[in-house]
Symmetry: C2
Subunit: 155 residues, 2 copies
């Protein structure tokens, strides 16, 4: 009962893109550095997001990724579906049919409720809800994505 690291990577990468100024892109290296994700693995994650229609990519110099839609129009459920496919909490409830053992599995009801609850939360949560809300004491809000469009890593 645990969300995959891959899914977490996807969410954080999307958040990173959501923080980009209009028209600017972020490339693999930038996302990798700021989100602390192995760049070679991130490439695979981003491919999923591109194929899933959540992100667009640009090749060549100054290429990179950007969101296809505003952050508040991308739900966690969409991200999950793109990355992991249909939510399946128990093996036995594969492709719509119930457990092979009995036609009317008594557990099915609970797993269904569980699935609905999770999907409900995923559905009503958008990337916009995941953007860092800085309530810094006294200081001015931190400017993010200045200059080249992404935070520089310390090293």
């Amino acid at each position: 009962m645990q969300l995959s690291k891959t899914f977490d990577y996807a969410v954080r990468s999307l958040v990173h893109l959501a923080l980009m100024p209009e028209g600017q892109t972020a490339d693999l290296r930038a996302i990798s550095l700021s989100q602390n994700i192995p760049v070679s693995y991130l490439a695979k994650v981003m491919r999923h997001l591109v194929r899933g229609g959540l992100v667009s990519s640009m090749l060549g110099r100054d290429g990179g990724y950007s969101l296809r839609r505003p952050a508040d129009q991308i739900t966690l459920l969409q991200v999950y579906l793109v990355m992991e496919g249909e939510l399946r909490l128990v093996e036995c409830m594969d492709n719509g049919r119930n457990c092979v053992m009995s036609t009317d599995c008594a557990q099915a009801g609970v797993w269904k409720r569980l699935k609905d609850a999770v999907e409900g939360i995923f559905q009503e949560t958008t990337l916009a809800d995941l953007l860092p809300k800085r309530t810094v004491t006294g200081g001015a809000p931190v400017t993010i994505n200045k200059e080249k469009g992404y935070a520089r890593a310390g090293a």
Copy 2:
């Protein structure tokens, strides 16, 4: 995002025990056969349940397992805790503290809500809710939680 087979085994084994007539036990072989669980692995599952205080075991001839409490007083949350320990949806939210990357992770709120939702459902679901409700044609409905607090199995 999937429940382990082991957890499923535990739940189904407990349901099997809940269906036993008062005073009767079920041994490894019986549970294994009826629930289609490898007997050698089931032994390990049952050990967890015994240690966790949900089930009592009897050695020797006519030994086996039985529930320590009525079915409607054993919640799925208790089963989960015994089998898997504290529910942890994302790796980064280990032992109460947040992700190492930022002190105020914006995602934390969502994962928390998700965890609460799942735990809520686990908390309010007891073994009694998982007993097969036979809507046999013509037959009288199975009496649940009467007498000793749980349903009798037909057999």
